[in-house]
């Protein structure tokens, strides 16, 4: 029965959480309060692990909650249940898009939302920039400009920028990620 309940809770989460992985956190908090399957502290750990492992954060959290609650079957049921509503909705939207893609009004809508989408992705990138390159707590403590940047990260960013822009190399993003992880470990970022 716990699997059915798990399915129900995560189906609801997938249906009502709009705006990506971290938007599911309030829903998962609610599951914790109502069912007592896991504590708030476990939830904090789950978010940390989900951000520090490959895969979209939302799926990672669903799998984690499912596993903690009901083992491997729980992990599978929770992830599938969370994904199911959006799969259905997107398939309907995709059919609609295909039918009306050439309509001038639909074209006009895309003309407007494409640049907005770039703006939102750039804002997400700016959020990563603050965590990856800056050291805001250190700067607040000392007020010294030298403490504002994480210098090792800044150097790595510069190097990656040069190497990844060499058209001839065509380095795969996966290789760049693996290399950066290794550099992070070796130079103790």
């Amino acid at each position: 029965m716990i699997l059915l309940r798990l399915f129900y809770e995560f189906f609801l989460t997938g249906l009502f959480a709009i705006g990506g992985g971290l938007a599911t956190v309030p829903f998962i908090e609610r599951i914790s309060e109502r069912t007592g399957w896991f504590t708030r502290q476990t939830l904090v750990d789950m978010i940390a692990v989900s951000e520090a492992t490959p895969g979209p954060i939302g799926i990672n959290m669903a799998t984690y909650v499912g596993y903690v609650t009901a083992g491997i079957p729980g992990a599978v049921v929770a992830s599938i249940a969370e994904v199911l509503p959006s799969v259905i909705i997107v398939l309907i939207m995709a059919r609609f898009l295909k039918a009306f893609a050439a309509h001038p009004t639909v074209q006009a809508v895309f003309y407007g939302i494409r640049p907005a989408s770039v703006g939102m992705i750039a804002a997400a990138g700016f959020g990563v920039l603050k965590i990856a390159l800056l050291n805001l707590p250190g700067y607040d403590a000392s007020r010294a400009v030298a403490d504002l940047f994480q210098w090792k990260s800044l150097i790595l960013a510069g190097a990656l920028f040069v190497v990844l822009n060499m058209k001839k190399l065509r380095i795969h993003p996966a290789l760049a990620i693996a290399g950066s992880a290794l550099i992070g470990i070796v130079f103790r970022f």
Binding site: A17, G55, S117, V128, I185
Partner: protein, 183 residues
């Protein structure tokens, strides 16, 4: 290779190499789905992101389903969705079972500090490519800049921006069409 299997495996690869939210999947999508396999265009990926922001569910999964269904209909969408989800299931189950203090390990924290820098540079490159197909005149440039600034300065839901941008797009094109009729 069977296209359904190819969709599943490609999105497995993309899901397994996404660190962070759905936006960090973008560089991998461009390389695998747009450049290597030519399943969609840059502009289509942009549309998928914009619509996915407004739909329920995870952005990464929504974008995968859009791309998969463009290639092979509903079955293709489902293959892509399963592909994005699969690596998470394996990795998280393994960590939950054996490494409960995974996120606190110093080596893991160092590795992720490095990965974050890489994700940042990759996103900058991805945005630069997308800019060409979406920011086509001064009006779209203004829209893009406005949404960027409002997103970092306020906590308004992305849905508001997408709906407002859609209305702005219709209005701009409608005025342009009327201008053509008048002259």
């Amino acid at each position: 290779m069977n296209t359904h299997l190819d969709l599943f495996l490609t999105f497995c690869k993309i899901g397994g190499l996404t660190f962070g939210g759905g936006y960090s999947m973008l560089p991998m999508l461009q390389r695998e789905v747009v450049e290597s396999r030519e399943w969609t265009t840059e502009a289509e990926i942009m549309d998928y992101y914009a619509i996915s922001q407004c739909l329920p569910g995870l952005i990464a999964v929504n974008v995968a389903v859009f791309a998969g269904s463009k290639v092979k209909g509903p079955a293709g969408g489902i293959c892509a969705a399963l592909g994005v989800v699969f690596p998470s299931m394996v990795v998280i189950t393994a960590i939950a079972a054996f490494l409960t203090n995974f996120a606190e390990l110093p080596a893991v924290q160092s590795a992720f500090a490095g990965i974050r820098v890489c994700v940042l540079v990759l996103i900058c490159q991805a945005i630069n490519k997308l800019r060409k197909s979406s920011v086509v005149d001064w009006k779209t440039a203004a829209l893009c800049a406005a949404v960027f600034l409002l997103s970092i300065l306020t906590g308004v839901s992305p849905i508001v921006y997408v709906v407002a941008a859609a209305l702005a797009g219709v209005l701009i094109q409608w005025r342009a069409a009327r201008g053509r009729l008048d002259s």
